[in-house]
Symmetry: C2
């Protein structure tokens, strides 16, 4: 059977407390006892049971990470950032994907909380996260990442600056002389989309172009979803000369569909995508993207979680600025 601390103690003819002290360095132990105990520990490859330790110490060195869509390159790289920083800090990660299911998200938080994770990093499925206050009000550490909502009290947030993202992309297209700019997005009622739309609006406003909601199109965040969305959008507004697509897979679907309609990028339709997928530079034409740094967001989110764990007062909203990578698809060069 599995060897426990008791077994080690028995064989070394000491108490379990002494063994524990040897392992954790919590008390001076005489040289010979120390060596004897260590020898037996190594002999059996003994490693203390973390579950028992966690129960007693009420901490697990584990963080919960809940994402709403997976795999999605942005989310994936964010998870990577979180995992990497967690690993550096000696933490483990309990990863759950909710598939944009709000109810499952709430269940999951309950579950992870009951598993005594030290805190949770959450990219929520919807704006509807009032329920989180039940946890945050009791100072259970929750960090909102990527998406957020200000109805949640007492939680740090780490996100991209999505207003700026929408604004910068739109301004760039406006500067190229476009007036009819369509926007395609993959998820509704989340802060990322909402804020990018606000940025889009603000940019149009600055150029005295009235905002028209029918120039926005919601689709599935997939290649086919992008193709379908652009088809429907162009059907409605054949006067569109530029597009901002908020998701990499949808961007690829968009390019597909535009070619299908025998239109030229950027001559007939200029294009800015979101997120810098690896193949962007070798597509014809190379795709201009506006990007936010997912891995940095992930790492920063874990740092924020640690800050929150160590200081219950900590509630900062950190926003990462976007950057525009211009290639030919927007009409540049």
């Amino acid at each position: 059977m599995k060897v426990t601390m008791k077994d080690i103690a028995k064989e070394a003819e000491v108490s379990v407390a002494t063994v524990s002290h040897v392992i954790n360095g919590t008390k001076n132990i005489t040289e010979d006892k120390y060596k004897k105990i260590m020898r037996i520990i190594n002999k059996y490859n003994y490693i203390p049971n973390s579950t028992a330790k966690n129960l007693r110490q009420k901490k697990t060195k584990t963080a919960g990470m809940i994402v709403s869509s997976f795999p999605d390159s942005f989310i994936t790289e964010m998870v990577y950032g979180v995992e990497e920083r967690a690993r550096e800090m000696g933490y483990n990660l309990l990863l759950v994907n909710t598939n944009e299911d709000k109810n499952y998200e709430e269940e999951t938080i309950n579950l992870l909380h009951s598993r005594m994770v030290d805190g949770i990093i959450l990219s929520p499925a919807t704006n509807d996260i009032e329920y989180l206050n039940r946890f945050t009000d009791e100072n259970f550490p929750v960090v909102l990442v990527n998406r957020y909502n200000n109805i949640v009290r007492n939680a740090p947030k780490v996100t991209g600056d999505n207003f700026q993202t929408g604004y910068d992309a739109t301004i760039h297209l406006l500067k190229h002389g476009h007036k009819k700019i369509g926007m395609i997005y993959g998820v509704a009622n989340v802060s990322t989309t909402d804020e990018r739309i606000q940025g889009y609006k603000a940019a149009l406003d600055q150029y005295n172009i009235p905002f028209d909601e029918s120039y926005l199109e919601l689709g599935h965040a997939t290649v086919n979803g992008g193709a379908a969305a652009v088809k429907s959008l162009l059907n409605r507004h054949s006067d569109i000369t530029a597009l901002f697509v908020q998701n990499d897979l949808m961007t690829i679907g968009t390019i597909h569909q535009i070619r299908e309609q025998s239109l030229k990028i950027p001559e007939d339709i200029a294009l800015i995508g979101f997120g810098d997928f690896a193949s962007a530079p070798i597509i014809d034409p190379p795709v201009t993207n506006i990007i936010l740094p997912p891995d940095t967001i992930g790492k920063t989110a874990f740092d924020a979680l640690l800050s929150k764990i160590n200081n219950p007062e900590y509630t900062k909203h950190i926003e990462m600025p976007p950057s525009l990578i211009t290639r030919k698809s927007c009409g540049c060069k």
Copy 2:
């Protein structure tokens, strides 16, 4: 403070055992006591502490998943498959990325084992996994996924058929008349690479072409790594007319580099990549890929883990066949 079963029991004027029986349905409880207890449970939003439960029951409904590289689209989708099936089965996933670090991998297994995960799904960093026998010999459930090594006893394996993958890709190029076929790969000394090389060899053999190791090139599994690898390879063998690239990012780097050298795909160099990245059809020329189904591999791996948990005798090696998606880059159409 946090409410425990004891608190519930006190308020309901029953023993903790009764509360536990109500929650788990392990004993008949009279209607009125049952209702009273449930009312109090709901009032406090009480959820039993999983850590205590896990310790007592010696199971955690948690699987460890250890991968060697992340993010990497193949691995990511595999993780997705595992997570999805785990979720369906009521399991959680403790995800760790070892970044191809063998020592960290061993440490991690020790740690997860001490955390009493019910089993581990491992995509090992190297072939050097003899140490696993320490666990598998004691019937601790370990499933090898993607990469494997037969020195490990008593472990199910779920992988792609990589021999067939190398064979099919090479045969396809040979059928197009190529005789000087280069191969670029991103990791050495792992079963995936080794077996694809074996498949490549077998295909050449069938066409009576002698195998020459210098037609293989190892690079970093990145865009730049792919570019550098193909540069070095073409430098060594300017007679190469076809390439099989074993990784999506490297494929993109390869295309970059080939264009850089003013060569045409597929006229000067035919190309087959591995893994069907979304943009493959819209690159010029569209990229032929040979693929293995990462999400199915992931799901199957979790199923295998469950089988192993329920039946210590279970040790099956499941291999998924590849499929070739032909587009123009290999000279088809």
